[in-house]
C-alpha cells in the first residue's frame, strides 16, 4: 500500500493523574483497510478511540486525518470531517423510536452536505431516509422493529443502530468500539458480512474487538495494545505468533481458539 494513510497517530499519550493509560502509541490506517485493535481489558483501547475522536483531550501526541491535524479538536468538528465512532456502551436515544434516532445524525451539518438530502427533497424526508438506512443495516422494513422505542430494542439491534448512526453521516472512517461484544453467536455471524460490506463500500474501519475469531475474518492488519503500550502490529498470523502477545493473553481462552483457527 503506497497511498497516504487516511488516519495517522504519532506518539499519543494520555495520563489520568499518575496512571499512563496510553504511552506513546503510534499507528496509521490506510484508506479502505480494516485495522483491528486488540488487547486485554484495561489496555487503553477505548481511551485511544476517545483521544482520536476528541472525546477526551490527549496529554501529548498528534493525530492527522487526511493530512490535516485534528489533535484535541472538539468532538463534533472531528465527526464533521468524517471520522466517526460507535460507543462500546450503546448510546441510543432511548425515548425515541429507532427510526427517529437516525433523524438526528441526518440533521447534522455533515449529512446535509454529503447526503444531498434535505427535508422533503428528492430522496424524501429524513424519516424516509432513516428507514432506508435501517433496512440496509439489518432492520426489517415492514416489521414493527424500526418503529419501536430504542429502550425496548435488544442489544443486537442497538449495536446496529450505533453503526447506522455513523453511516447516516456518510463517514470516511468508522472507529468501532466492540460492535460484537454482548451479541450471541448467530447475531455475530450476521454482523460479519455487514462489516465486510462496509469495507467494500470504501469505508475505512478501525475495530476494537475481543472476539478475535470474527475479527480475524474481517481485519487486514492487527495492532496489539497492553498497558497503554503498543506491543506489535502485523497480519493476524504474524501477531498471533508473537511471543509478547501470547504473554499478554497468557491463559486466555481466546488465544487458544484463534490458534486453532490460524
Amino acid at each position: 500500500m503506497s497511498q497516504e494513510p487516511i488516519l495517522q497517530a504519532r506518539d499519543i499519550s494520555k495520563h489520568f493523574g499518575g496512571i499512563a493509560a496510553l504511552n506513546r502509541v503510534s499507528f496509521h490506517v490506510n484508506p479502505g483497510e480494516v485495522l483491528g485493535i486488540i488487547g486485554p481489558n484495561g489496555s487503553g483501547k477505548t481511551t485511544l478511540i476517545n483521544c482520536l475522536t476528541g472525546f477526551i483531550r490527549m496529554s501529548s501526541g498528534e493525530v492527522l486525518f487526511k493530512g490535516k491535524k485534528i489533535s484535541n479538536k472538539p468532538a463534533h468538528k472531528i465527526a464533521d470531517m468524517g471520522l466517526t465512532r460507535t460507543f462500546q456502551i450503546m448510546r441510543p436515544y432511548y425515548s425515541l423510536p429507532a427510526y427517529k434516532n437516525l433523524v438526528i445524525p441526518l440533521f447534522a451539518p455533515r449529512a446535509r452536505r454529503t447526503g444531498g438530502w434535505r427535508g422533503g427533497g428528492k430522496l424524501g424526508d429524513r424519516k424516509t431516509v432513516s428507514i432506508d438506512i435501517l433496512e440496509e443495516i439489518g432492520f426489517e422494513r415492514d416489521s414493527f422493529v424500526p418503529y419501536k422505542k430504542a429502550s425496548s430494542l435488544p442489544t443486537g439491534y442497538l449495536k446496529r443502530l450505533e453503526l447506522a448512526r455513523c453511516l447516516a453521516l456518510k463517514p470516511e472512517v468508522i472507529l468501532c468500539d466492540e460492535v460484537f461484544s454482548g451479541l450471541s453467536m448467530s447475531e455475530i455471524a450476521s454482523m460479519v458480512p455487514l462489516m465486510e460490506r462496509l469495507q467494500m463500500d470504501g469505508i475505512t474501519l478501525v475495530m476494537i474487538e475481543h472476539r478475535l475469531r470474527e475479527l480475524f475474518q474481517v481485519a487486514n492488519r492487527i495492532m496489539v495494545l497492553n498497558f497503554g503500550v503498543k506491543l506489535t502490529e502485523g497480519t493476524p498470523e504474524e501477531v498471533m505468533a508473537n511471543k509478547q502477545v501470547k504473554d499478554a493473553y497468557f491463559g486466555s481462552e481466546e488465544v487458544e481458539e484463534v490458534m486453532h483457527y490460524a
Binding site: 472525546f55 472538539p74 460507543f87 423510536p97 433523524v103 449529512a111 414493527f144 448512526r165
Partner: protein, 337 residues
C-alpha cells in the same frame, strides 16, 4: 371463589398505528376524538375572561397566563432539552425591566415594547447563560437561580433602574380586554408552537441532547449551539411574560426577580405532568386560582397550599395530563386470569 384472580387489561385504541404520533383516521368520530381535546382547550382559554366573575378574577386569569408561559418554558427546557432551569425569575426580570425602560425612557407603546423586550431580553438571557451551557442537571439549575438574586441585589445596592422604588408610570394596555387576549393568545401560540417544534427534526435533536448528548456530539453536532437555541426560545417565553406583567402592573421593580416566578412553574409542571406541555398550563390554571382562594386564610394560606401540593404529588405523582392521556388513549377492562 375468592381465589379467582382478575387483572386489568389495557388496550390502545385502534387509530394508533405503528408508532407514537402516527394515526389512521377513518371517520369523523375518530377525527373528533383527536381534535376535540385541543378545541376544548382553545375555546376554554378564549372564553375564560368572559365567564369569570368580575375584574378581580379577570386579573387572576392574566396572571395564570403569565405563569403558564413560564411553565411551558420550564417544561420545554427540562423535558425536551434536559436543562433544569430555575431561571423563570431571571427571564421575567430581564423582559420586564427592558419593557419598562423602552416605555418610560423611549416612549414606545406596549405593542412595540413587548416584542422588542421579548427578543432582546431573550438574547441577553442567552448570552448570560452561554458560559454555563455545558453544565447539566443541578449545576445549571443553580446558576440560573443565581442570576435573579444577583441582579436584584445589584439594582438595590447600586440604586440603578429606579432602585428599590422601581420604574413607575409605565403605560398600561389600552383596555383590559386587549390585555387579557394578548396574554391568552401568546400562551396558545407558544403552547402549540412548542408542541409542533419538539416533533420537528430540530425538536428531535433537542430531545436527543437530553437523552444522550455524547451521541449527538459523535454525530458532528455542536450541542452548545442547540442548547443555546433552546435557551433562547425558553427565555423568550419568560421575557414575554415579564414584559406583559410590567404593562399590566404599570410598574417594574425588583419583585420581578421574585423566586415565585421560578418555583411556581415547577410546581405547576409537577401537578400537570412533565413533558406534556399542556400539563403545566393546566397546573397553572389550578394552582394560581387556589392560591388566590386561600388568601382569606391569611398566614395559614401557605400551609393549605403545601397540603394541596403534597396531595397531588402523593396521589397523582405522574401528573394530571399523563394520567388523563393514558385513560383517554386506552381501553381498560377487567379480565379473568
Amino acid at each position: 371463589m375468592s381465589t379467582q384472580q382478575r387483572r386489568k387489561e389495557r388496550l390502545d385504541r385502534g387509530i394508533k398505528i405503528r408508532a407514537e404520533g402516527l394515526y389512521a383516521l377513518m371517520s369523523w368520530r375518530e377525527l373528533s376524538y383527536l381534535t376535540l381535546p385541543r378545541l376544548i382547550l382553545i375555546v376554554g382559554m378564549l372564553a375564560l375572561p368572559l365567564i369569570v366573575p368580575g375584574m378581580y378574577w379577570q386579573r387572576v386569569v392574566t396572571i395564570v397566563c403569565i405563569y403558564a408561559l413560564l411553565a411551558v418554558s420550564f417544561d420545554f427546557l427540562a423535558h425536551y432539552v434536559g436543562l433544569v432551569s430555575l431561571g423563570g425569575a431571571f427571564f421575567v426580570g430581564a423582559g420586564g425591566y427592558l419593557a419598562a425602560i423602552l416605555n418610560s425612557s423611549f416612549g414606545l407603546p406596549p405593542l412595540l415594547t413587548i416584542p422588542i423586550a421579548t427578543l432582546a431580553g431573550a438574547a441577553i438571557c442567552t448570552m448570560f447563560l452561554l458560559p454555563c451551557l455545558p453544565l447539566r442537571g443541578v449545576y445549571f439549575a443553580i446558576v440560573t437561580l443565581m442570576y435573579p438574586l444577583v441582579l436584584a441585589r445589584i439594582i438595590e445596592a447600586m440604586d440603578v433602574l429606579g432602585g428599590t422604588d422601581g420604574i413607575m408610570g409605565v403605560d398600561s394596555f389600552t383596555n383590559p380586554w386587549v390585555e387579557q387576549y394578548v396574554v391568552i393568545g401568546c400562551v396558545l401560540l407558544f403552547l402549540f408552537g412548542v408542541r409542533r417544534l419538539v416533533n420537528m427534526d430540530i425538536g428531535l435533536v433537542f430531545r436527543a441532547v437530553k437523552d444522550n448528548d455524547q451521541a449527538v456530539r459523535a454525530s458532528g453536532m455542536n450541542i452548545s449551539y442547540y442548547k443555546a437555541i433552546a435557551v433562547f426560545l425558553s427565555a423568550a417565553m419568560g421575557c414575554l411574560g415579564g414584559a406583559c406583567l410590567v404593562h399590566i402592573y404599570m410598574w417594574a421593580g425588583i419583585s420581578l426577580f421574585a423566586l415565585d416566578f421560578s418555583i411556581l412553574p415547577i410546581a405547576a409542571t409537577v401537578i400537570g405532568g412533565g413533558g406534556t406541555l399542556v400539563g403545566p398550563v393546566l397546573g397553572c390554571l389550578i394552582l394560581v386560582p387556589i392560591s388566590e382562594l386561600l388568601r382569606e386564610f391569611g398566614t395559614l394560606r401557605i400551609v393549605f397550599y403545601s397540603l394541596i401540593l403534597v396531595g397531588f404529588i402523593v396521589f397523582r405523582s405522574e401528573g394530571l395530563m399523563v394520567y388523563g392521556e393514558r385513560k383517554y388513549h386506552q381501553f381498560q377492562r377487567w379480565v379473568q386470569v
